[in-house]
């Protein structure tokens, strides 16, 4: 019809055309019908599995129930770390209808500051939309309830009742237990991207015991399958599998003692270790100043971190394991044992005139006036350096080093800790290896009074003390087990031990250097040994006074009761200005073991002077620091610059 010159259309032609074209129309309709039927079949049959899965993943929302973290217990079963109910509020940005309005309302309900509200708005803008953004955690019940009852009007807001880590004694256990924190991307990848790890609010052990026992403490997550609408409203619970809480970890630590020792260290920077002389149980391993693991676990603020970093008392270092010090005279009982083992008669004496010439240099005794005639007993309880200078040269360094190692110095112990700095017990072979130089007499002289190359950590000092006290090869342990270990004898003659015990008792209870360390208790005597370690040469600073960081380290090792050793203790105070900074602490800690009430009374008097407990002082220090940091322009710390200029 359309070909060539247009023929004039007639009714018949139009009728004909209608018939053909309506056939075409019908065929198109039929064709589309077939197409639709084919498409329907394809969707419902060929792709059924795929879409069934998608419908199911639409319908069912699987949420993990994070397992409650196992408690960390002290030896009596009291918690050193537990969990407290934590009320938190999150928002899911995708489900929010009116962001500004909701944020403003949350701000009122949760009493957020203007800065917090601004931060929240920013976090929501930057979020990917489907993962929850934390609004607040650690809420009081009233605040939490205020939000909960208004949930129907606050679209996208989720309230959750979870758990957060709680450390009842705060900073006292900081270094020992470590802390928990949110998972880093690296940690997440290392664990095959376990979904549990990125559950909002979920935390893992980051340091100390929390990290070492992460797996047993963690437990198994539960799951909750719920049917949800497109809007996120939960229609019904389909299935809930309860979480399996983590297993508790019980330590040998005596919680109250750990706290007492930490607080007793007071304003000093130092550590205190107490061990059981029979079992090797570490009863306390306090290192102060410390951080508050609770505040670390909530996610430490930038300012708090800066404050801890800047502190010259290194609150971020666990001094029990990581602090290395020249032990000073605390090694003299050990050296005396080495002397006797080498056959030295304890009655053999030497005249101390305040110094001894070794080579072309005079080594002074700490008592410049001299001690007169000194035998071994006096050598120990008067801590006469000349006695040890003299006989150490005769006996030789190798035998002293041997005894040092036998008693645990330089040793790394099999403990579940993040790391130990095990220091140095020097001997001729070591010096040759390390410096390529021959051992000299003055090296022996230095080492024998715990100076020079000799470096130990406080735990080693405690182990040494426990071994001297018991005569057994005590190994420290941190994890409490039902079976108490049995340790072999060190093979040191009992009369040698008795001799040293008596001499150490005389340090405290006799005419010795630490008379003020006597226990205020009837019938219980403590034996000990003082130690003062120089940090810099006497030509730089006197050691007792002067700039803090040049002052002498103060040490004290002790065990009690002296006649039936039960507890061994080692205190190390950095730059304490001598052993007098250390032995009062050892005395009070030891007192606490036998008469807690008496010891606490003393501590409370001290804390009144110091301005509160360790936790209180830390909190106040932080508040002051934060204030100073947040208003740097207001008053440019004029006092501080004055001090430096002086």
């Amino acid at each position: 019809m359309a070909l060539g010159k247009r023929p004039a259309r007639t009714k018949a032609m139009l009728r004909h055309s209608f018939d053909r074209r309506s056939m075409v129309l019908g065929s198109i309709q039929g064709g589309i019908g077939v197409l639709l039927a084919g498409r329907l079949t394809y969707l419902a049959i060929a792709q059924n599995e795929k879409y069934e899965l998608e419908a199911e993943s639409n319908r069912v929302n699987l949420s993990l129930i994070p397992p409650r973290r196992g408690w960390i217990l002290d030896r009596r079963g009291n918690p050193l770390a537990s969990n407290k109910a934590d009320f938190r509020v999150d928002v899911i940005p995708d489900q929010m209808t009116d962001n500004a309005q909701t944020i403003a309302e949350l701000g009122v309900l949760l009493q957020l500051t203007a800065i917090e509200i601004e931060d929240l708005g920013e976090k929501i803008r930057q979020s990917n939309g489907f993962t929850p953004v934390e609004v607040a955690s650690g809420l009081e019940w009233e605040r939490f309830a205020a939000v909960s009852v208004r949930l129907p009007d606050l679209s996208g807001v989720v309230t959750q009742r979870g758990y957060s880590r709680y450390y009842p004694t705060g900073p006292s256990v900081g270094h020992l237990l470590g802390y928990v924190g949110s998972v880093s991307p690296e940690e997440w990848k290392a664990e095959d991207k376990t979904p549990l790890l990125i559950t909002p609010g979920y935390k893992i052990g980051k340091d100390g015991i929390e990290k070492q026992f992460e797996m047993p403490l963690r437990g198994k997550p539960g799951g909750r399958r719920v049917e949800v609408t497109a809007g996120g409203r939960i229609v019904r619970d389909l299935e809930t599998r309860d979480d399996v809480p983590g297993k508790p970890v019980q330590l040998t630590i005596d919680g109250p003692l750990q706290d007492y020792a930490a607080r007793r260290i007071g304003l000093e920077s130092g550590s205190c270790v107490v061990m059981d002389c029979h079992t090797g149980d570490i009863l306390c391993a306090s290192s102060m100043p410390s951080f508050d693991p609770g505040s670390f676990s909530e996610g430490i603020g930038r300012i708090e971190w800066k404050m801890l970093r800047e502190d010259d008392h290194v609150p971020l270092r666990n001094k029990v394991l990581r602090g290395l010090y020249p032990p000073g005279s605390t090694i003299k009982p050990m050296v005396a044992l080495a002397f006797m083992k080498a056959g030295l008669d304890p009655e053999e004496s030497v005249h101390c005139g305040g110094g001894l010439k070794v080579g072309n240099r005079v080594f002074h005794c700490w008592a410049r006036g001299g001690h007169g005639q000194v035998n071994m007993a006096r050598g120990i309880h008067q801590s006469c350096d000349v006695y040890f200078y003299h006989f150490a040269q005769k006996i030789g360094m190798d035998k002293i080093a041997q005894m040092a190692r036998r008693l645990g110095l330089g040793q790394e112990f099999p403990l579940p800790v993040a790391g130990q700095s095990y220091g140095t017990v020097p001997d001729p072979e070591w010096k040759l290896r390390k410096y390529g130089k021959e051992w000299q007499n003055f090296d022996t002289v230095n080492a024998t009074i715990g100076q020079g190359y000799m470096l130990v950590n406080p735990l080693q000092q405690a182990v040494m003390t426990s071994r001297i006290a018991s005569g057994k090869e005590i190994m420290p342990r941190l994890l409490l087990t039902k079976k108490t270990p049995d340790f072999p004898s060190l093979g040191i003659a009992q009369e040698h031990l008795d001799f040293v015990h008596q001499a150490m008792s005389d340090v405290v209870n006799g005419p010795g250097t630490a008379g003020r360390a006597r226990l205020p208790l009837e019938g219980i005597k403590m034996a000990g040994k003082t130690g003062t370690a120089q940090v810099v040469s006497l030509s730089v600073s006197g050691g007792k006074t002067g700039p803090w960081k040049y002052r002498d380290h103060g040490h004290f090792i002790a065990f009690a009761p002296f006649d039936k050793p039960r507890y061994a203790c080692a205190v190390a105070i950095e730059h304490g200005g001598g052993s007098s900074s250390a032995y009062p602490i050892a005395r009070d800690v030891m007192t606490f073991l036998f008469d807690p009430a008496k010891a606490l009374e003393k501590l409370h008097r001290y804390e009144e002077q110091w301005g509160g407990t360790a936790q209180e002082r830390l909190d106040r220090k932080y508040a002051e620091y934060a204030m100073e940091q947040s208003a740097p322009l207001a008053n440019p710390a004029s006092g501080e610059t004055d001090v430096q200029n002086r």
Binding site: S22, Q29, I32, L43, A55, R59
Partner: protein, 370 residues
């Protein structure tokens, strides 16, 4: 014959189509009942009541003689045009777009009425046009004007789906009226060039987004592609036999948008499966085939064009809606006849249905009485 049992006026109705249609409407009511969460009152009752009313209307229409239809064609067209302008004015006064006129007892969408009316007026136009003029400008321009005027008004609303439906109905009449084929080919070629340009200039943002996401719905699963994706999930997850009555999770948990209107087919397919879907296709197939047979048996040009055009209008509804819900066409917001909840669209398809019944009557009369 069945005269002895059934009265003649009843027996003369096209039961081979009405019976499946009733089944389809009942299925629609069941789906709406389920979509409302097991409530008749929300959608299903009004669906059935409307169908009853409009079916009665269709029966009445089927008894109207052909001469009335022809006589009323132009006045009806004029009337609906007035309503369209009225809607436009009301919208302008209200400070936004408006598609409805509130009649008190129901809201009327005049653009819906234009779908059958454009078919009616063009059938009347070509019926009166001398055969020889069919291939001249006099057979083309008045028709284009008749289509163009309402289309322009509806596009202004803006309602892309309805304006396409009006154009479709109009062009189908022009096609079967016997206009030269090369005009259609030429227009098709021109459309192929102009459409992309028009798409990016004339369409509103949300309309354009629907078109682009149609091409790749998964690219934006939570945005504009959401509708198509969720609809496919509903249909696909239904499988062969469906999840069972009132067990569709996609519709009941609100994943499926417009579960009771535009996406009612997906709601149905999720619960009744592929078999339910094929049943719907079969019923539409029966209705459309019946419409085309009636058209071909038409005794004159007017009735043939009218019946074919009305059939095409029903077809357009069903085809575009089904292609949309199965991911073969963009989301244009066209309901599924006889199943979707909504008064205006049901009114339109029942007008089409009644008109086809009327044409069948006109053609049958001579046979019955000679």
């Amino acid at each position: 014959m069945s005269q002895s049992f059934v009265p003649d006026p009843v027996a003369r109705q096209p039961w081979q189509v009405i019976a499946p249609l009733l089944a389809l409407v009942l299925l629609g009511a069941a789906v709406l009942y389920s979509a409302a969460g097991g409530s008749m009152a929300l959608y299903a009752t009004s669906h059935l009541v409307r169908f009853a009313l409009f079916f009665a209307m269709a029966l009445v229409m089927s008894r109207i003689p052909e001469s009335w239809y022809r006589a009323l064609a132009y006045p009806a067209y004029g009337g609906v045009m007035v309503l369209l302008v009225l809607v436009e004015l009301l919208g302008a006064m209200g400070g936004g777009s408006q598609r409805w006129l509130n009649l008190g007892f129901m809201t009327l969408q005049p653009s819906e009425l234009m779908k059958p009316v454009i078919v009616l007026v063009l059938a009347a136009f070509y019926h009166t046009l001398p055969a020889a003029m069919t291939a001249s400008w006099r057979g083309l321009l008045p028709a284009l004007a008749l289509i163009g005027a309402p289309t322009a008004l509806v596009i202004l609303q803006p309602d892309l789906g309805t304006s396409l439906a009006i154009c479709f109905g109009g062009f189908v009449i022009m096609f079967i009226a016997g206009l030269p084929l090369r005009w259609f080919l030429g227009a098709g070629a021109a459309a192929a060039v102009i459409t992309p340009i028009a798409l990016f200039t004339l369409l509103h943002d949300y309309q354009l987004r629907r078109v682009t996401t149609f091409l790749d719905p998964e690219s934006d699963p939570l945005g504009a592609g959401y509708h198509i994706t969720q609809s496919k999930i509903a249909i696909g997850s239904g499988g062969m036999f469906g999840k069972g009555f009132e067990n569709g999770s996609q519709s009941h948990l609100d994943y499926l948008p417009e579960a009771h209107t535009d996406f009612v087919f997906a709601t149905m397919a999720e619960e009744w499966g592929m078999l339910g879907g094929l049943f719907v296709l079969l019923v539409f197939g029966l209705i459309l085939r019946w419409g085309m047979v009636v058209a071909r048996n038409g005794t004159d040009r007017f009735s043939r064009l009218l019946a074919a055009g009305m059939t095409a209008t029903i077809f357009f509804y069903a085809a575009v809606n089904l292609m949309m819900v199965m991911g073969l066409a963009p989301v244009v917001g066209i309901p599924l006849p006889f199943m979707s909840h909504g008064g205006s669209s049901m009114l339109t398809v029942m007008i089409c249905f009644g008109t086809i019944m009327a044409v069948e009557r006109w053609s049958a009369k001579p046979r019955t009485f000679t």
